[in-house]
Symmetry: C2
Subunit: 302 residues, 2 copies
């Protein structure tokens, strides 16, 4: 008895999504089907491949080794498909994953610089949360990820082999306030002044801590708007609808009517932008991207 191709596909999706249910919806299956496929894989290999934990699953060591080979097999049939369709092979393309706010910061400039210096390198980009990106690296769905990390800066996950990570820049969080607001009076505001404010947050998700609300702000934050987009959030701030947190890289792109101020009186809210990838040989295109990203990160205010 041996694994089926769909089984391997399911394995990869589980590895990437971190749960049977998420993998199922992604693949257009039922959760039940994915559960069965997972069971079939474990039966076929005779080993436990998944660690069922609350809130999802992670791969066991055996699951990771199977995943490693599964990706090779799946990529081979995908390559066959492309080649038989007459499409060009995909190697040389670097798949880059980014956390949401990287998209408006270093990423476009780094890619533009890269296109000038190395026009042959093709890059595809995918935006996702940090844990999703870490899983995607392990599932070999992306080659490189730009991640956000907050103290304490632990390892990205506790699977083997540990991911190779490289700090691109270390910044401190800022607060975006309407230009007319009393909070915009000085260059800094006190933490206590953040009580009883209207907040503009990111999309609320159970997994991630709410983005947009200053961590440790006193009282229960009153979230009046949620928006995914930085531009939306900043324009909401400009319209006086509320306040929100922003990374400092946005400093020179804020629309008129928005002021960025620092917050005093709490712990320093330091953020790192981290580059992560699987350990092992690094193809030249990837090293070039890393070089471009580092160069661009160095040029940012920090």
């Amino acid at each position: 008895m041996d694994p089926s191709l769909t089984g391997l596909r399911v394995l990869r999706e589980i590895a990437e999504r971190g749960s049977f249910t998420a993998a199922a919806t992604q693949l257009g299956y039922t959760q039940s089907a994915v559960s069965r496929q997972a069971a079939a894989l474990e039966r076929a290999t005779g080993q436990r491949l998944f660690d069922r934990q609350v809130g999802g699953v992670t791969l066991t060591a055996a699951g990771l080794t199977l995943l490693r080979h599964a990706v090779v097999a799946l990529d081979a049939v995908a390559a066959a498909d492309r080649e038989l369709k007459g499409l060009p092979p995909e190697h040389g393309i670097v798949r880059l994953g980014t956390f949401p706010s990287a998209g408006v910061l270093i990423l476009p400039r780094a890619l533009a610089a890269l296109r000038r210096t190395h026009p042959r390198i093709r890059v595809t980009t995918r935006e996702a949360t940090t844990p999703a990106l870490v899983r995607a690296i392990r599932a070999r769905t992306i080659d490189l990820a730009v991640l956000a990390s907050r103290p304490p800066h632990r390892q990205l996950d506790d699977q083997a082999p540990p991911l190779e990570s490289l700090t691109l820049s270390e910044t401190t969080l800022l607060l975006a306030v309407p230009a007319g607001s009393p909070l915009a009076a000085g260059d800094t505001v006190e933490l206590e002044a953040l009580a009883d404010q209207d907040w503009i947050a990111g999309p609320s998700s159970t997994a991630e801590p709410t983005m947009g609300v200053w961590p440790g702000a006193p009282g229960r934050p009153r979230i009046v708007h949620t928006a995914r987009d930085w531009l939306t959030k900043l324009h909401l701030v400009a319209a006086g609808c509320g306040i929100t947190t922003v990374p400092p890289g946005l400093a020179d792109t804020v629309p008129p009517g928005v002021r960025l101020v620092e917050v005093q009186g709490g712990p320093a809210e330091r953020r790192r932008v981290v580059l992560a990838r699987l350990p092992g040989p690094c193809p030249p295109a990837v090293t070039e991207i890393i070089r471009a990203l580092r160069q661009e990160a160095a040029r940012q205010p920090g």
Copy 2:
């Protein structure tokens, strides 16, 4: 719709065996099942993969490209299987195919020499007919083949890319006769003297010309024994049961009671021992084997 793993396995087997029926028996399937799998593959890819000809099938260009990727995928799941079972990975092993009489000639000595100079290189060996070996190279089931070739030395097959071949040695056929026979009187015999003789031939197959009977011998050969094994054939000769052809490499291993003589009066029966492999990068272990085989071939009488 995409190909299944068993479909790819069937494809590889068809490529290797050269016919649906042979692939079926090899895989333990019915010919019908293989035919359906082949049809399913062609339906899935939307292209003709097989050239149905009399006596079997060959792969079309599309079939060959699919095969190339299929082998990668199948090897990946095989590697996963091995690794999950705790077996060592198989890379570094060179799979060598040989035509039958190579087994008693250069092969053992070359492998012995290789084991002395490079004990780390593992070699597996498989014996098959020349066309089967050529197909096995294309199916990537073997990495290298030692083939016999007779004039005119054409290309090994007419598929793309053409196989890379390298002549190891060029020899001329000899005749093994019982020591007491009138044929053993001198060092040579005349072609006409071969009429009305008892012959010891190889296993008769419809595909291959009968081995063992001197090509162009006058009259209809009277085959009184057939044997696969060189030692068997030579002992049959020693016992006076008949005569047979042998490659000259056996010269120093013939049992007592057997004499090797040349044949005059016909076209020179030249044979080449040829090394063949797919074009492309050559892993170091393979180059070492090639080196050992060439060295051993050079030390043979030729």
